[in-house]
Amino acid sequence: MGDYIILAISCILVNNILLAQYLGNCPFLGTSKKMETAVGMAMAVVFVLVLAGVITWLTETFFLKPFNMEFLRTVAFILVIASLVQFVEMFLKKSIPALYAGLGIFLPLITTNCAVMGVCLINIKEEYTFMQALVASFAYAVGFGLALILFAGVRERILLARVPKPLQDTSIGLVTAGMLSLAFFAFKGMV
């Protein structure tokens, strides 16, 4: 049990997917202008990433490995993720319309979110067991949400500040992300 807690802390804070592993930066900058969209995106990522992490792990272990088809991993994973996202979208639309309305437009964007694909690949690369892959996927997703929501909070404050013209928008966003990343950098060496 203790091992899983340490793994979770390391994935959420120390190896934060956005700020230390540089994955998923497009939605990080794209959806962080407003708090609402940031929360929506964060929830959608948690939902899909856990499912995708588990399913790609199963695909790798029971399908690709026994048949020696690891070279097809990229194609297989992206197909699994794309169809999973589509399936989740249809399922939510039919059975939980309230959640669908909340996540709605963020779901299709997740297919090309490299955080999802990245975590699936990290799970395989680190040779995690099933439980470890599950915990790591969830923890990475929580880390993504945490960083995204913190960043959205900072960005809303920046709107009130007077930023020099050439620095505006994405440019100041990246510099701010750098500062936030510096804060997360302090966790390095903790686990």
Binding site: C26, L29, R73, I78, G118, K125, T170, L174, G178, M179
Partner: protein, 197 residues
């Protein structure tokens, strides 16, 4: 077709140079620009995928039904990414190791899918080829320049050769994650200053 093939090629080098003008494909930009070699390696790999997928998407644009086009594009891209991955593993093994999971992640690089959807699916093969090549070379230039800045300040070397005297203390902030964000942010700012329209 308003623009000539040359114009399609040139626009990727300045007007629409990713990731400065089109803010897409940030993950590889931030992650693999610790050194200039890694930056160029990633740029070339992405260019290859971009050109091949643009040509194939453009060639098949009338066959693919528009309902399943995104899925079809992703499979085309994934195929070429696998090709690149295997080629790099065979011929440039050290580079393959240092780029790590970012090679398979070219498949979810928004630049590639973005060009397939926004350009190649609507234009002729030669134009798509020029567009892919232009955007790819632009991306490589951007990665190389970011890689050069980070390598010179972060480890005090350029292409592995030391630039400063032995008394130089490397500014290791630059090669870590925070430095990547700040450096890209400032480069974006310089681009805005220089290329204001």
């Amino acid at each position: 077709m308003a623009k000539s093939i040359t114009q399609e090629f040139v626009k990727g080098l300045w007007e629409e140079i990713p990731p400065f003008r089109l803010v897409l494909g940030l993950c590889p930009t931030l992650a693999v620009t610790k050194t200039i070699q890694d930056g160029i390696g990633m740029g070339v790999a992405t260019t290859f995928v971009l050109v091949c997928s643009n040509v194939l998407v453009s060639a098949m644009r009338n066959i693919i039904p528009s309902k399943v086009r995104i899925a079809a594009f992703i499979i085309i891209i994934a195929t070429f990414v696998t090709v690149v991955e295997l080629l790099m593993q065979a011929f440039t093994y050290p580079l393959f190791l240092s780029l790590g999971i970012f090679i398979p992640l070219i498949v979810v690089n928004c630049i590639v899918l973005g060009r397939a959807e926004a350009f190649a699916s609507k234009n002729a093969i030669m134009h798509s080829l020029a567009d892919g090549l232009g955007i790819g070379i632009g991306f490589t230039l951007a990665l190389a320049s970011l890689g050069a800045v980070r390598e010179v300040f972060g480890s005090g070397t350029f292409w592995g050769a030391p630039v400063f005297g032995p008394s130089f203390h490397p500014f290791s902030f630059m090669i870590e994650a925070p430095g990547a964000f700040v450096c890209l942010g400032l480069m974006l700012c310089i681009m805005n200053l220089v290329g204001k329209k």
